[in-house]
C-alpha cells in the first residue's frame, strides 16, 4: 500500500465511452496482484471530492493500467487526462483473485460484463504465465461495449462474446452464452466481474455445476483502505452473515460467501 502523488500517464487509449490509462508507478506495479485496485484522485479540487476506485487492468515492471467507462463526473474528468499528466494514486489495495501456480494446466473460465472486464485482463496474463488455459467470456450491451475483444484475440485467448442487442456475437446475456458453452467445456474454476445480475447468474451456474467461482465486486468507496466502513457487502462468515468491507476483505470474494441482491431472476 503506497501513495504515489505523481504517477505519470504514459499511455492512453480510447474506444467511444471506454478508456484506458497506463500510469507510471514502479512501487505500486511491483506489489500489484490481479484483482487488486487503486484509488485515483481525479481532481485536485473538491469536486468530485473523493478518490475513485479502479481495478488494475494490467501491469508492467513500471506501470499499472486502469480501464474504465464514463459513468459520472469522476470518470469524465479522468477521461480528459492526457499523456504526461500525472495522477495521485493509492495502491495496490484489497485482496485479489486466488490464482496461483496450483492452476497450472487447468481450464479456467473468465467471465466479464461491460467494464467488469477490467481486472480479468490482468488475471488472464497471470493465468497464462502459470500455464493455465484461460477462456474469456465477454458480454456487453452492444458491439461498442466490447472494446477489448481484439486485444484478447490478438493475445490468442479462446474468446466467446455476446451482446444484449445481438449487434455482435451471441445475442443475449453473457451468462446465457456461458451456460450454453458449458455443454461442452468443463472449466475447473470461474473468475467473474460485471453487473450484479450477471455475477449472480454466473454464481448460480457455478453452484449448480459445482465449479469454484470468485467474483470481483464493485462499490462506491469513501477511502479504499478500510477507514470509512462505507463499502460494505453482505458476506457469509463462519455460518453467519456480516457486513464486510469490500475494500479490505475484497473486492474479490468466493461465490459461496456472497449474499446476492434480491430480484430480477
Amino acid at each position: 500500500m503506497v501513495k504515489d502523488p505523481q504517477a505519470r500517464i504514459v499511455n492512453k487509449k480510447n474506444w467511444k465511452s471506454y478508456f484506458s490509462l497506463s500510469l507510471e508507478s514502479p512501487r505500486i506495479a511491483a506489489q500489484a496482484q490481479s484483482g487488486q485496485f487503486i484509488m485515483v484522485r481525479v481532481s485536485a479540487h473538491t469536486q468530485p471530492l473523493l478518490r475513485r476506485p479502479f481495478s488494475i487492468h494490467s501491469k508492467s515492471e513500471k506501470t499499472v493500467e486502469i480501464f474504465f467507462q464514463i459513468t459520472g463526473l469522476g470518470t469524465e474528468l479522468l477521461s480528459q487526462k492526457k499523456p504526461e499528466d500525472s495522477l495521485d494514486i493509492l495502491g495496490p489495495l484489497g485482496k485479489g483473485f486466488e490464482a496461483g501456480k496450483n492452476l497450472k494446466g487447468k481450464d479456467i473460465a473468465l467471465v466479464g460484463g461491460g467494464r467488469g472486464i477490467a481486472p480479468l485482463y490482468f488475471l488472464s496474463q497471470k493465468l497464462r504465465s502459470y500455464g493455465a488455459t484461460a477462456r474469456i467470456f465477454y458480454g456487453g450491451k452492444s458491439q461498442d461495449d466490447l472494446p477489448l475483444k481484439e486485444k484478447f484475440k490478438e493475445d490468442g485467448f479462446d474468446l466467446y462474446w455476446s451482446t444484449d442487442d445481438g449487434s455482435s456475437g451471441f445475442k443475449g446475456f453473457v451468462s446465457d452464452l456461458f451456460k450454453t458453452k458449458l455443454e461442452k467445456l468443463r472449466p475447473e474454476r470461474i473468475f467473474a466481474c460485471g453487473p450484479e445480475l450477471m455475477m449472480k447468474k454466473i454464481s448460480l451456474i457455478a453452484q449448480e455445476k459445482n465449479i469454484p467461482a470468485e467474483f470481483s465486486l464493485e462499490s462506491v468507496m469513501g477511502c479504499g483502505f478500510g477507514a470509512c466502513w462505507g463499502c460494505v457487502r453482505r458476506i457469509k462468515r463462519d455460518n453467519r452473515e456480516e457486513w464486510v468491507k469490500i475494500c479490505e476483505e475484497g473486492p474479490v470474494f468466493s461465490g459461496n460467501d456472497i449474499i446476492w441482491e434480491e430480484g430480477d431472476e
Binding site: L50, F225, A227, C231
Partner: protein, 303 residues
C-alpha cells in the same frame, strides 16, 4: 523553532491536529501512509459496549464538495478493541482518544467503566451526536437536558477527561454547549455532521439506505466555523473545532475563531496524509508570520 503544542488544560497535545472519529478507523489503517507519532492525536472510531453491524449499504453518497454518510457506527465493541487494537496503539507516542457510543446513558457509562481499566487512552470523546443510529437523526445532543444527563453520568463514572461531541442539528448549539459544560465536560468537540439527504431522480429513491445521513466535508466548513466561534465565545472549557478541514488554512481559521485544537475528518479519505500535511502547513504559517507558539493565535479574531 515553532512550538505547535496546545494545552487543553487536562491534556497537552504536541500539535493541534487530531484525526476525527469515524474517519480515522482505529488509527492503524493509516500506518502505511503516515507516521502516527507526528499527530497531535487521533480519535478512534466510535465504540459501543458490544460489536455492532451498522447500516445496510448504500452508506455513502457524494454531494458537491461534501459527503453524506450513514455508516451507522459499526464496530468491534470494547472487548475486542482492548484486546486486539489498544495494545498496538500503546506503542505510539501520540494522544489516543476513544469515541464512546451508547444506546442509553448506562451504555455510555459501561463503555467508559470497561475502558478505564486499560492503559493508553488519554480521554473519551462522548458521541452524543451521531445522526445515523436513530430515526430522524435523534441523539442526546439535540436537547440540553439529555446532553446534561449523559455527560454528568459519564463524568461521574470516568477516571479520564470527557470531551462532549456536539451536533449542529439544533436551533442553538450554545445552549447545548453550556449544558455539557455545566454537566462537567472537560472540553467540547464540534461539530458532528449535518443531517442531510440525496435523491436519485431516476428511481425516486433516497441515495442512502437510511434515507438521512450526515453531511461532512468542505461544504459544511463555513457553518461549522461559525458555530465553533459562537460556542468558543460562550464556554470556559476548551473547544475542539471541526467540519470540512482540508488544509492548514482551514485549521487556522478554526483556531483564530477560538478552537484550541481541530479534528480533521473527511480529508483523511481524500488523502491519508492530510493530517500530517496540515501540521506542516501550520508550521509554515507560524514561521512566515513570526509566531513562536501557535497557542498565541487561538481566539485572536480581530473585530
Amino acid at each position: 523553532m515553532t512550538d505547535l503544542s496546545v494545552d487543553l488544560g487536562f491534556l497537552k497535545l504536541k500539535n493541534p491536529v487530531i484525526g476525527a472519529s469515524g474517519t480515522f478507523g482505529y488509527g492503524l489503517e493509516f500506518e502505511p501512509y503516515i507516521d502516527l507519532n507526528r499527530l497531535g492525536g487521533f480519535v478512534v472510531k466510535g465504540l459501543y459496549f458490544s460489536p455492532r453491524e451498522g447500516n445496510p449499504p448504500p452508506r455513502l453518497v457524494e454531494t458537491p464538495s461534501g459527503l453524506i454518510n450513514a455508516i451507522g457506527l459499526p464496530g468491534i465493541g470494547v472487548k475486542r478493541f482492548s484486546e486486539e487494537i489498544l495494545p498496538r496503539l500503546q506503542k505510539f507516542n501520540t494522544t489516543i482518544i476513544v469515541n464512546v457510543c451508547g444506546e442509553s446513558n448506562e451504555e455510555y457509562a459501561s463503555v467508559v467503566e470497561f475502558l478505564d481499566k486499560h492503559d493508553g487512552i488519554a480521554a473519551y470523546e462522548l458521541n452524543i451526536s451521531c445522526p445515523n443510529v436513530e430515526q430522524d437523526g435523534l441523539c442526546p445532543a439535540l436537547s440540553p437536558e439529555a446532553t446534561f444527563s449523559a455527560v454528568s453520568l459519564v463524568k461521574k463514572t470516568s477516571s479520564r477527561p470527557i470531551i462532549a461531541k456536539l451536533s449542529p442539528n439544533v436551533t442553538d448549539v450554545v445552549q447545548i454547549a453550556l449544558s455539557a459544560e455545566e454537566a462537567g465536560a472537560d472540553a467540547l468537540s464540534l461539530v458532528n455532521t449535518f443531517l442531510a439527504m440525496a435523491v436519485d431522480i431516476e428511481t425516486r429513491k433516497p441515495k442512502l439506505s437510511n434515507i438521512y445521513g450526515g453531511l461532512s466535508g468542505p461544504a459544511i466548513k463555513p457553518i461549522a466555523l461559525r458555530i465553533t466561534h459562537q460556542v468558543a465565545g460562550r464556554v470556559k472549557i476548551p473547544v475542539i473545532g471541526m467540519g470540512g478541514i482540508l488544509t492548514g488554512q482551514d485549521a487556522l481559521e478554526y483556531m483564530i475563531a477560538g478552537a484550541k485544537a481541530v479534528e480533521v475528518g473527511t480529508a483523511n479519505f481524500i488523502d491519508p496524509e492530510s493530517t500530517v500535511k496540515i501540521i506542516e502547513e501550520l508550521r509554515e504559517y507560524c514561521q512566515k508570520k513570526g509566531i513562536d507558539r501557535i497557542e498565541t493565535l487561538i481566539g485572536t479574531l480581530q473585530a
